[in-house]
């Protein structure tokens, strides 16, 4: 693993909490009133779910240095666990189902994290593939998980907390936003704590970490558990708030890669990076497809357009990673510093 700067404060004229508070104020007080259903359903909801998955994977891969290709599996565990807790435990509040779903994903995460005690790097990545295939197989094989639904598709229950419904697009957005905000702040606290420093120590040099007294095995498993917990809840948001229906194949290997790309493009070992990366992965293809359809829609059919978008997207990602290997978050930090110095001089 390349050594990566941790989420060090970017020099800025404003304190960070002010920026965060302003972002949250916009997210809570402005967007719900001005957003269209397209903005919520097609952009913000997948963005929030994938950002949270990115935050979870970043803990494991960015901070603790353990590469995982099983993110989609943990999302699936979360989604199907929440569905089953909600369905089978009478009177259990939705929030409790979601938290229990997180713990279920954490448990599976620990099981599939065990190989990390012996394996590193690519070998570990390959062993986490086992999670990907096993979970999808189990969810397909045993009809119980999808309540014996003929087609294996589960329908999300209505979102309601203490009798207040969040069924509208804006409501589901607020629901997802709240969960993402809470978990992100907890994660920020975690990475600043001793545990977070242990993660980084294990990532940077396992032997050195052991010598200074970091419990390496426990730290690795803890990273898998917490990361899977967060990713599991991201899966709940994906299924319950975004698609509102889900089948096991919806959480396939492609989704795992998508989450991995999010943190690589956004910036490893950066919580903000997960949000930047998810924004790029969600919004960029859409913008490209809309622009392509606008300029060339009369000449080519949608299939040709879609293919060329993929080429453009792939090319841009390569170009971008060559120019900025530390991800969007580094680019952001530099722009802010430059802007700061420009304003500082004037």
């Amino acid at each position: 693993m390349v050594s990566i700067a941790s989420d060090l404060p970017v020099s800025s004229t404003h304190p960070r909490w002010l920026i965060r508070a302003a972002l949250l104020a916009i997210a809570y007080l402005v967007i719900p009133f001005v957003g269209t259903s397209y903005l919520f359903e097609a952009i913000l909801l997948p963005f929030l779910a994938l950002s949270l998955a990115g935050v979870g994977l970043n803990l494991l891969t960015g901070y603790a240095g353990q590469v995982s290709l099983g993110s989609a599996a943990f999302m699936a565990v979360g989604a199907f666990a929440a569905y089953n807790f909600n369905l089978r435990v009478e009177g259990l509040p939705l929030v409790a189902s979601i938290v229990l779903a997180g713990f279920s994903a954490a448990a599976i995460g620990i099981v599939f994290g065990l190989p990390s005690l012996r394996l590193k790097g690519f070998y570990l990545a390959v062993s986490t593939l086992a999670a990907q295939f096993f979970v999808q197989w189990a969810l397909t094989k045993f009809g119980w998980f999808s309540n014996n639904s003929a087609s294996g598709v589960i329908d999300a229950p209505p979102l309601a907390i203490a009798g207040i419904g969040f069924e509208s697009a804006a409501g589901r957005y607020l629901f997802a936003l709240t969960i993402v905000t809470v978990l992100t702040f907890l994660t920020l606290r975690l990475v600043a704590s001793q545990t977070g420093r242990n993660f980084i120590a294990v990532r940077d040099n396992e032997t050195a970490a052991r010598i200074i007294g970091v419990p390496v095995l426990r730290t690795k498993l803890l990273a898998f558990a917490i990361s899977s917990f967060i990713i599991g809840i991201a899966g709940v948001l994906w299924a319950f708030a975004y698609l509102r229906t889900v089948e096991p194949a919806g959480f396939n290997l492609d989704r795992s890669f998508q989450v991995l790309f999010i943190i690589i493009i956004g910036g490893l070992a950066s919580i903000r990076g997960a949000f930047f990366g998810a924004a790029l992965i969600v919004v960029f293809p859409l913008a490209l497809s809309r622009l392509g359809a606008f300029f060339l829609g009369d000449i080519f059919d949608s299939g040709v357009l879609d293919m060329s978008q993929r080429i453009v997207l792939g090319g841009l990602i390569i170009l971008f990673l060559v120019l900025e290997p530390d991800g969007l978050v580094a680019l952001w930090g530099r722009s802010v510093r430059r802007l700061g110095s420009v304003f500082g001089r004037s």
Binding site: T36, S37, Y38, L39, E41, A42, I43, P46, T140, A150, S151, G152, V153, D155, Y242, L243, R244, T245, E247, A249, G250, L286, A287, S289, R290, L291, A293, F294, G297, D298, D301, S302, G303, V304, L305, D306, M307
Partner: protein, 444 residues
């Protein structure tokens, strides 16, 4: 691409906002949002089906100037058969005015849309596929698995096998393997095959092929060990030619493989080459270009370079003809609704009324130039499938030949099972069963 959506995308390109729905401007237009797929593993089905659908809409516009003067418009958004893209496309396209009906041609996308289109009051058409219990119009007012729902298909296939063996009684003790696509579509028929196996006393084994299905060695080795009398291929896309080729490799006789309604196209058999010779599959619409409506599409559109298919050899193929039949059904639903509500742009709910009175007897089908292309349809407010007839076709290496009459599936047997499933759904969702009076009223 309609002018309206162009303006909308222009607004986006300008970076003003992601969607600003323009106010409805054109008075007499009816818009079809097409969540099509022209790339990915299922592109053959997507290009053929949406090609035929667009060709028919185009034909109605060019030949008749629209439906009673109401022009048909459409625009496409690529889904690649993926649920997330389908949902995005739905959100993108639904802001267009005058939406008539949705036709996503994907069970996964259709499932994700049921709540949404029910809230919007716009019909969702899942021709020859979809969620079986949406046949029950009392519970699913806006969902239409037209012509053939998956259970009817299953019943048709089992009846056909029985007829080859000498009657339903002779199924006793026979062994049938169902090789199904690992997707919501593929799994939809698992319970009904089990039920029919129990009822008719045949031995059943159902084997999944994971999506997309380009590797089936182990499944066919299992089949070889099981030595079934018949294999039902419930495939989709690339899975079908691979199945036929692997069957040939493992020595299973191809004339004992029966394809379902999504394993019945030229694109499924041509890539398999000789391995497909003798393969039989169910269909609701015949292939070929000899039907007057197909001929008209060729003379009106393709001869003038306005056809939608890039490869003219695919005109009259199974998927293309299915798209044409789907076009006929959508257009006729609008026409029927216009007779009640007036010859103008209709609301989604009014089009829903039209679909619920979509009754085309063989005479009407003939008048539409589609005699023997498909048999008939008889949709009512509580039967959203419309009792489509099926036929069987055999591949001779060059073309499909019809090898049976039009067969009726065993609807009376299936209806109680469908009602049980839709009843459970209604209970889970707290849906009040609709009555005939509810169905008669349409909001405008």
């Amino acid at each position: 691409m309609t002018m309206l959506s162009k303006f909308k995308i222009a607004a986006l390109a300008a970076g003003v906002a992601l969607t600003i729905a323009l106010p409805a401007a054109h008075a007499d237009e009816q818009y079809f949002p097409l969540q099509s797929y022209r790339v990915g593993p299922y592109a053959a089905g997507g290009t053929g089906f949406f090609g035929g659908f667009i060709d028919y809409l185009n034909l109605v516009n060019t030949r008749d100037g629209g439906v009673n003067g109401v022009k048909l418009t459409w625009s496409e958004a690529e889904t690649q058969y993926e649920v997330e893209r389908g949902v995005e496309a739905y959100e993108r396209l639904k802001s267009n005015p005058n939406v008539a009906a949705w036709n996503p041609l994907s069970v996964g996308i259709a499932y994700a849309m049921i709540d949404r289109i029910t809230a919007d009051k716009v019909p969702l058409i899942t021709i020859n596929h979809g969620r079986t219990d949406s046949t029950d119009g009392r519970v699913f007012p806006y969902v239409f698995p037209l012509l053939l729902n998956p259970y009817s298909e299953t019943s048709g296939i089992v009846n056909y096998i029985a007829s080859k063996e000498g009657g339903l009684e002779s199924l006793k003790g026979k062994k049938i393997v169902v090789l199904y696509h690992g997707s919501p579509y593929g799994k939809e028929t698992i319970p009904i095959y089990e039920l029919l196996a129990e009822k008719y006393g045949f031995e059943l084994q159902q084997i999944e092929v994971p999506h997309p299905g380009n590797e089936q060695q182990s499944q066919w080795l299992t089949i070889r060990r099981a030595k079934p009398d018949y294999v039902v291929l419930r495939g989709w896309g690339v899975m079908n030619p691979v199945a036929l080729k692997t069957a040939a490799k493992t020595g299973f006789p191809v004339d004992h493989i029966i394809g379902n309604v999504w394993s019945n196209s030229e694109e499924d058999v041509i890539p398999a080459g000789d391995a497909a010779k003798g393969y039989t599959a169910i269909t609701t619409q015949a292939s070929g270009t000899e039907y007057p409506v197909v001929k008209e599409i060729v003379s009106t559109l393709y001869d003038k370079g306005q056809g939608n298919l890039e490869d003219k050899n695919r005109i009259g193929s199974v998927y293309h003809n299915l798209g044409i039949v789907n076009g006929i059904l959508n257009v006729e639903a609008i026409r029927i609704a216009q007779e009640k509500f007036g010859k103008r742009t209709l609301t989604g709910d009014e089009v829903r009324w039209g679909f619920e009175h979509l009754q085309l007897d063989p005479a009407r089908v003939e008048a539409l130039g589609a005699k023997n292309l498909f048999h008939s349809i008889n949709v009512t407010w509580d039967n959203h499938e419309g009792n489509g007839y099926v036929t069987f076709q055999q591949w001779d290496g060059k073309k499909w030949n019809v090898v049976s009459d039009w067969i009726a599936p065993d609807w009376a047997l299936l209806r109680p099972i469908i009602e049980k499933s839709s009843g459970a759904y209604a209970a889970e969702k707290g849906i009040k069963l609709r009555t005939a009076e509810d169905a008669e009223a349409a909001t405008n």
